[in-house]
Symmetry: C3
Subunit: 347 residues, 3 copies
Amino acid sequence: MALTISKIAEILGGTVDGDGSAEITGLAKIEEAQSGQLSFIANSKYHKFIETTQASAILVDIDFPKSDRTLIRIRNPYFAFLKMAEQFYVQEPQVATGIHHTAVIGQDCVIGEKCAVGAHVVIGKKCKIGKNTIIHPGVVIGSHVQVGENTIIYANVSIRERCRIGNKVFIHPGAVIGADGFGFAFEDGKYHKLPQMGNVVIEDEVEIGANTTIDRATMGETIIKKGAKIDNLVQIAHNVQVGENTVIAAQTGLSGSIKVGKYVKIGGQAGFVGHIEIGDNALIGAQSGVTKSVPENAFISGYPARPHMTAKREEASLTKLPELLKKIRLLESQLKKICDKLNIEHD
Amino acid sequence: MALTISKIAEILGGTVDGDGSAEITGLAKIEEAQSGQLSFIANSKYHKFIETTQASAILVDIDFPKSDRTLIRIRNPYFAFLKMAEQFYVQEPQVATGIHHTAVIGQDCVIGEKCAVGAHVVIGKKCKIGKNTIIHPGVVIGSHVQVGENTIIYANVSIRERCRIGNKVFIHPGAVIGADGFGFAFEDGKYHKLPQMGNVVIEDEVEIGANTTIDRATMGETIIKKGAKIDNLVQIAHNVQVGENTVIAAQTGLSGSIKVGKYVKIGGQAGFVGHIEIGDNALIGAQSGVTKSVPENAFISGYPARPHMTAKREEASLTKLPELLKKIRLLESQLKKICDKLNIEHD
Amino acid sequence: MALTISKIAEILGGTVDGDGSAEITGLAKIEEAQSGQLSFIANSKYHKFIETTQASAILVDIDFPKSDRTLIRIRNPYFAFLKMAEQFYVQEPQVATGIHHTAVIGQDCVIGEKCAVGAHVVIGKKCKIGKNTIIHPGVVIGSHVQVGENTIIYANVSIRERCRIGNKVFIHPGAVIGADGFGFAFEDGKYHKLPQMGNVVIEDEVEIGANTTIDRATMGETIIKKGAKIDNLVQIAHNVQVGENTVIAAQTGLSGSIKVGKYVKIGGQAGFVGHIEIGDNALIGAQSGVTKSVPENAFISGYPARPHMTAKREEASLTKLPELLKKIRLLESQLKKICDKLNIEHD
């Protein structure tokens, strides 16, 4: 595939700053791009590479500084680059259309048109798989599971019975959907397992990371709403609700019955106690320990999590604490001298 | 299935507070229950739903406030609800009894009566599987592994050679039992792998969460004792011993050769250095960083982990630190004024 | 197998301190060793067992205290023990040489001599597997993947298309190599998936822990360099580079585009923001939250991560903070008394 720089700018709705006649045949990171490749700058840490990059054209923000490089100026250059990536990058199909002869499909399943079901896949009875969906080798799906259209389920994923997966969902390798929630009642000196009777519902356009685990509800549903993006090795406990377009970075853990709003952003390795609510648009810093509900639009961080500016101020003052201890000792000795001079009793 | 409220109270040994004649046909969470359903309240956060629930009867503690709802008063209502869940909830079998024709079973294996071995299961030679045990599709078991009776091993679990699994154990999807411990000797500028010669022993009634990893011992055994409950994505390193009826929440990590007592409760995302002991009945807060041994009955939290009340007090005083810095500056200027007035030298 | 103590000392290049004539037939931990077994002491926590061990000989450091036990004195006794473990411990082969008849191998693959490809393995087209490599049951490998010689890939591992794995690599069960990086552009009120066009390269002698996830690069390569050792449940994001002989303990998370140097040691559950560099030989404490680049040879810890001695000093002073608050109140009242006496205005 080849497109001139001018043509790319036209497709994207950007403006060329420089010579638009050269042909672009591929895409690359700014620090590795070669002649003939298109790149982008969306993070100021990468501005410096404008000097040294070999890229033939660079997608940049509208107010990017003037340069002797050929720029395509556009709002949201990262998104523009993504649109070009969709054009230039053709992913090789990994699973042939149809049902592989080693796959084991239960009774009364409905497998949609143009589905690709890979080798050694196991699907329980009475499942419904929507059209164009791709199920990679080694996936195990329990009975009565519904999967939508244009969804990709990667290798060795496990989905237990009665879960429902939407359209255009990505589930990355090794993820586990619908395992038993962690619920026990203590009696007679030991823990008794509470049957986990509910399921997991994953709505359209959700992404679930590799080896992430989403437990089924004790009763009712654990829900991941439309457009939510969940990274690798995340733990989502029973009865959690994750709102629309919320993003959760790797290794975060959500305890049971938490309700997370929409457009929330959660950093990596954050942890949350159960039965709390996280308001819409909240930002939760990486490694936060969230011990109570969070209002809409709040930005919290630290352990225990508190407003981010407070946490930063406290961290900054903590660095002064060792010096402060010395200062206090000095104040004390000074005071003692004064008290001695004035014949005031010193405690 | 249908039982009158009075009959349920009789089965459980509770007392009906209200009209016991209505029939219960199902179970639900208090906030979602409909007419004809039984629910429970065991956490004060859910008391408020007593006003609005549509449940026909609610299991509550003996001293729960009077209400115009039909209550079944009983000690440990959560456990009582669990007993009813066992009656009302019938889990649909996912794996047919017998050995699926695609399963690959090694030489000299003994598979007990009424076992269910799913599609594409692989079992190494000389394994012994107890009766009524269910092995879901995609499970891989190495040679010389013993699995007890009435155990359930879910999809895509990997169990390496010579491990031993007890009776009534649950191993959730994707868990890895008996991978090599992380042991290397440094010599000649690189790390050399120490053969991990031991195994993992999981005793009766243990639960192992989805995608949890339990490494085999370097020598001897990594042991999870009877009745311990381990959540998802937990890391248990080589030669760890987890005591009876200990509960470990998700994403916690135990380093090598730790000995955890019985009835210990460990919150999510806690981490432990190696070669320490955690006493019986200890409580370890979520996200704790445990750097030394913990006595019996202790409650510790924070990083580094310290007695919980100390940790809370320090956290509380930390919030006052920015203000304290201002106060100290004020004290200093005040002192200076006094020193000037008294002609005392000020440092 | 049996070797005299003297023979073992000779093989290893150590010196016998005591009677070297007894035969050794096995290896054991110091606290569990029986007569006829060889053990070692490499950590001072285990010195006490010298009194009670039943081991017939113990590998110890050259300057280990005199004892009435039979010692083999040697530099690096742990490495010496490892060399003996390689002699005494014969791991039973788990996968027969050849390609199991249930394995599904894509077109135009080259499988090297003496490879062992287990049951229900799936390999995509145009893959190349080097000689003597062992692929356990349930492994799924995408198209155009290259795997070196003498590598072991354990059960249920998923490796996506175009990744490259070196020689003498261990990939433990459930690991996921080459899943999509977590990259989205926000536009029109939702997140759009950026195609993850790169791959993962794992060089020789690397070890990848169970259920660890290593994401493919957005463009270019995510690289794990020669001799690096990565524990279980570690998250390595897109475009990360891990240097030679670097060791990463369990549950650590590396965000996108981090460059980690060689001989770095990273404790468990540490987290790193993206786009930073970690210098050679750096030490990163367990549970650290690393928010900026780290120079060579630095030792950092805590949240946010700072020089380890600073972090320890701040933690120590924090324990004095509650008491300090009382002391300040006392100073204030004292000052007030003085001001009253001197008729100085008090703020």
